[in-house]
């Protein structure tokens, strides 16, 4: 009470100085030739290689060398971050629905984004395959082997993971194509799932590093990557007779384009994904790509033909999402019934 407030003024000075330091560190001006690609988890290796190639290419066109930054996370969470203000100029996500969400909630992406680039704005595609233990000890060849008693299936939760929705739909499609009751079939499949991780990488870790389960339902690219990183002598890949055509789409985030230079860079970044060189990079990183002209034949030969059902087979995401994965949807009925 007796003390004067002089002391308070003394405190204020260092506080303000530190605050000003924080501001100056943060406000680093966004250089014209920098680009932020907000992507999803399994594309880390792909975009690391593509970003290096693209920076070279862009420079070879007579431009200054760009800085390409990447952010990876769960596809839905990444879309949410862009809506909340993460300054991505391009998004390369797992599901069209996630980019639709950005368009609907922030208006930063035009509604017709998917028609602005070839192949539904998907420069590469993937499918769902089985990763099994070396030598396939349980003899798992197709979806109907996975519903047998005593088989443990590892797949993430379709409520939270984009990849897991494809896993679920692939099984559904197999049942429908083979005249089985899909709901019963998928129910039997999920009864063989001992643990539902929240995301695809988590499931891969559960299967590969913690050694749980007999079969991992995985993105084809993830399965090959696990093979490459964790040892070809530990796992085998089994391609089922029916699977899905997953089209991870890309889009320009109009709302985050500051000037024409950035627009040119971001547009080229997306367009060059379709160039033979980039397609070869995608194939090398275990994605199925459209243009194989510059690819290593071994990278192309890796992928066997498979009957791939696109999301249209299931009525499009707008219908499949609420019907199967919404609150009280078919997945809830299947899973709560257990």
């Amino acid at each position: 009470m007796i003390l004067s407030f002089v002391s308070l003024r003394g405190f204020a000075r260092p506080v303000l100085a530190a605050g000003a330091l924080a501001l100056s560190l943060a406000a680093g001006p966004a250089a014209a030739q920098s680009l932020l690609n907000v992507s999803y988890d399994p594309t880390r290796e792909l975009y690391r290689e593509y970003n290096a190639w693209f920076a070279e290419w862009w420079q070879a066109q007579g431009n200054p060398r760009p800085t390409i930054q990447a952010s990876h996370g769960g596809s839905g969470a990444q879309a949410r971050a862009v809506i909340d203000g993460l300054g991505a100029q391009v998004v390369t996500l797992a599901l069209a629905g996630d980019i639709d969400a950005i368009a609907a909630n922030s208006g930063k992406v035009p509604e017709d984004w998917q028609s602005r680039l070839p192949h539904n704005a998907s420069p590469y595609t993937s499918t769902i395959v089985f990763l099994v233990r070396e030598g396939n000890p349980k003899g798992l060849k197709d979806w109907d082997d996975l519903v047998k008693p005593g088989v443990e299936v590892i797949t993430p939760n379709p409520k939270t993971s984009g990849g897991a929705r494809w896993n679920y739909l692939a099984a559904w499609g197999y049942a429908q194509e083979n005249g089985l009751d899909p709901q019963e079939f998928v129910g039997a499949l999920y009864r063989n799932v001992p643990v539902l991780d929240t995301a695809a990488r988590g499931s891969t870790t559960t299967f590969a590093q913690r050694g749980l389960g007999d079969v991992l339902l995985a993105w084809e690219n993830e399965a090959y990557l696990a093979l490459k990183e964790l040892g070809e002598d530990q796992f085998d890949i089994v391609v089922p007779s029916v699977s899905v055509l997953a089209e991870p789409p890309v889009a320009l985030v109009e709302g985050n384009i500051a000037d024409d230079a950035t627009r040119a860079l971001a547009t080229a970044y997306l367009e060059q994904l379709y160039s033979p060189e980039a397609q070869a990079i995608a194939l090398r990183n275990f994605y199925r790509a459209w243009d194989v002209s510059a690819a290593d034949p071994a990278d192309v030969a890796r992928f066997p033909e498979v009957n791939r059902l696109s999301i249209d087979y299931f009525g499009g995401w707008a219908r499949a999402q609420p019907e199967h994965f919404g609150d009280g949807g078919i997945f809830d009925q299947i899973y709560q019934g257990q």
Binding site: L3, F5, S71
Partner: protein, 288 residues
Amino acid sequence: MTDITPTRWRPATTEPALVKWSLTGLCLAVLTVLLFAPLIAVFDEALRRGWAFALASLGDPDAQSAIRLTLVVAAISVPLNAAFGIAAAWAITKFDWRGKAWVITLIDLPFSVSPVVAGLLFVLMFGANSALGGWLVANGFPVVFAVPGIVLATMFITFPFVARELIPVMLEQGRAEEEAALTLGASGWRTFLTVTLPNIRWALLYGVLLCNARAMGEFGAVAVVSGKIRGQTTTMPLMIEMFYNEYLSVAAFTMASVLALLALVTLTLKSALEWRYADQLAATHRHH
């Protein structure tokens, strides 16, 4: 003369040897399983392919920028929190005012709020969809998904540490010395520098160490506001998770070892302080 039975006698304040040793053993066993073994496992994983490989992983530009960012964030948030902690402890212990108890509770809030909630709070406040956040982004000063957001989140999580250390010490010391200095004609600032600060310096250092350890290790709140841009808004704890998810386990565990070493250094300093300056650290220790 009566017979004394010496074998059965023991002071009433000690336990039988069996109880003593089994309790000690249990405690050590739990510590081994829960603390030492995992800690050793972290270092073991890091060195699985040798020292050279582990050290080389720290040379990765993303790893270096993560280390740099963590140090920058700690360098900003720890001094600010130290200043805040001193100011808060000063206001609470040297003055009487209404609502003091309420402010003390408020200072404790970050201890009880989940870090995820803290992170989301900043996204809500400064995200592009709030009025303030929208204005800041439009003027080229984004807070969330940029360094300021990470600093804010870290400060929020660590702000009780210094104040909580200082308040009991300053309460115990009372106001008499400051009042004496003032009546002798010292200015407020001089009173603080020559009377208060020397009295609280060890407690202050202790609080700063704890605050620093937490600031460098914070994951949850930072993960929400970071945007996870590699080489730009990725701190060490976030980088560890990313490396691990990319199957770069040596890089992940090497960085985890660096963080663990920082924590161990902090812990050692803290123990040294406790041992040397116990009487000046926490008022309650005085009456032992």
